[in-house]
């Protein structure tokens, strides 16, 4: 079992979701986060004062998968989020010790899907 955490550009969320559904990965958690990228992002102006170098808005996805779904999940995220420019984001893959479905108290692999 793996936990996939991906940080992507907000405008790529729709495409990533689309790709994930195609790979039959339907269970995702999405949150809006701030992060320091290496790129500048879209410059903002407030009454003429230029704002750059700030934390940038990103989308964080969390997806728990069984091992056989890991590569399809990674491929789907890359397919949806990749533009080739700086700032496309990162994918982190973590070993996952256990998983519990609260409703049934099932444990491990069967609890994921």
């Amino acid at each position: 079992m793996k936990l996939v955490i991906a940080i992507i550009q907000p405008d790529k969320l729709e495409e990533v979701k689309e790709e994930l559904y195609k790979s039959e990965v339907n269970l995702i958690t999405v949150s809006e986060v701030l992060g320091h990228g290496r790129q500048k992002g879209v410059t903002e102006f407030y009454r003429g004062a230029k704002e750059t170098g700030n934390l940038l808005r990103k989308i964080r996805l969390e997806i728990a998968v069984n091992d056989s779904f890991l590569e399809p999940t990674i491929k789907a995220i890359v397919a949806g989020a990749k533009s080739g420019e700086t700032g496309d984001g990162k994918i982190f893959v973590l070993d996952m010790k256990d998983c519990v479905r609260i409703r049934t108290e099932e444990r491990g692999s069967p609890a994921i899907g």
């Binding site: 907000p10 790529k12 729709e14 689309e18 986060v33 879209v42 410059t43 903002e44 102006f45 808005r57």
Partner: protein, 408 residues
């Protein structure tokens, strides 16, 4: 000159001015949070742009005594539009009071259209489109219905406060632009939810409040007719708000605040042309039925035909406006306003036919010319933002600012 009338028209002008920022919150709450500033900015800049356009030449095109089609440039720069009354429009208030009251109508009308192409139009193209539309659609249509020598006015069409000039005119232009610009991306899988419903309600309240100036102010005097307009306006809005909520309750199981607010706005639209010609019971009928028609338009017709009128500018303003204009031909009574006419239910079927003619002419003219203006602007500079810009949102891509922060 009457000081009471002058005071009322000035206050009414200020009330109608507030409707455009009110509309900004009404529409702004309905879009996704990445686009809310673009809506506020579009409404706000229309207020700035057309305030200037109106005194430079807009008022002259609409109201100078030109030919049947338009007023021409005789009053450009307010030449000859002074502080004495101009009796053909309003004998008891300064001419400039009438002018500034009308300015507020000329401002909010084009702003109504932007609900149709919300979340996907380039700001630069928006400015050009709105200026051309105000010049070539609002100017002439306003002159036909309200201007001295206007041909629909001569025909006897009744439009007390702008059902034809404002709501049908803007509403059908909204349909034209929604069709021309096309649907937003990813609409089928992901229907965007309004990002701030309290804004929608705040906007509705400001519109309702401002509408007292819009309709009761159109009496152009502090008199009984203004009171009649005030009473029927409030009544129709209330009846329509109730009606829409009830329709939802029956059809979808629960009444929503969005529905009640939409109904109230539809009721205000429908009573606009009738406000100075009908009494209070017809106002209730007009209000109850407008929600039925508009509900059908936004929940059945729009999905069926597939046009993306994002915020239902067509479904509420055009459909409600057409019903209001026709209802004026049904319920108008000389007992309410001796200067008006009797409608079908008061023994004058001819008036109903005149109303149909005025509606049809406005629908056709505004749709065609709006479409032509859109196509010209699209050809010269492109109207729609790129796919990436649409995905990021107009606030950041068109204005380099955003409405909300996450931290701090």
């Amino acid at each position: 000159m009457n000081s009471g009338d002058t005071a009322w028209v000035l206050v009414s002008s200020a009330l109608v001015m507030l409707m455009t920022p009110g509309l900004a919150f009404f529409y702004g709450g309905m879009v996704r949070k990445k686009n809310v500033l673009s809506i506020l900015m579009q409404c706000f800049i229309v207020l700035c742009l057309l305030s200037v356009q109106w005194v430079l030449y807009g008022y002259s095109i609409s109201f100078a005594p030109g030919d049947g089609f338009w007023g021409g440039f005789k009053w450009a720069g307010l030449a000859g539009v002074g502080l004495e009354p101009y009796a053909d429009y309003s004998a008891t208030i300064p001419h400039q009071a009438f002018m500034i009251f009308q300015a507020m109508f000329a401002i909010i009308t084009p702003a109504l259209i932007l609900g149709a192409f919300a979340e996907r139009m380039k700001f630069s193209s928006f400015l050009v489109f709105i200026l051309l539309w105000a010049t070539f659609v609002y100017g002439p249509v306003c002159h036909w219905v309200w201007g001295m020598g206007g041909w629909l006015r001569k025909l006897g069409a009744l439009d007390f406060a702008g059902g034809t000039v404002v709501h049908i005119n803007a509403g059908i232009a909204a349909l034209a632009t929604a069709i021309a610009i096309g649907r937003r991306k990813n609409l089928d899988k992901n229907i965007p939810a309004p990002h701030n419903m309290p804004f929608v309600i705040l906007g509705t309240a400001l519109l309702w409040f401002g509408w007292f100036g819009f309709n009761a102010g159109s009496a152009l005097a502090a008199n009984g007719l203004a009171v009649n307009a005030f009473v029927v306006t409030n009544t129709a809005a209330a009846a329509a708000g109730l009606s829409w909520a009830l329709i939802e309750w029956i059809k979808n199981g629960k009444p929503t605040i969005f529905g009640a607010a939409s109904g109230a706005v539809a009721g205000l639209v429908a009573i606009t042309p009738a406000a100075g010609f009908v009494s209070v019971i017809p106002a209730i009928i007009i209000g109850v039925l407008v929600s039925v028609f508009c509900f059908i338009a936004v929940s059945i017709l729009k999905p069926k035909f597939g046009y993306d009128d994002s915020l239902d500018a067509f479904g509420v303003h055009c459909v409600g406006g057409v019903w209001g204009a026709l209802a004026t031909g049904l319920f108008a009574s000389k007992l309410v306003n001796p200067a008006g006419a009797d409608g079908l239910f008061f023994g004058n079927p001819q008036q109903f036919l005149i109303q149909i003619a005025a509606v049809a002419v406005t629908l056709v003219y505004s749709f065609v010319v709006s479409m032509v203006i859109y196509k010209i602007v699209d050809f010269v500079m492109g109207v729609r933002v790129g796919e990436k810009e649409e995905a990021i949102g107009l606030d950041l891509t068109q204005h380099h600012e955003r409405a909300y922060t996450i931290l701090e």
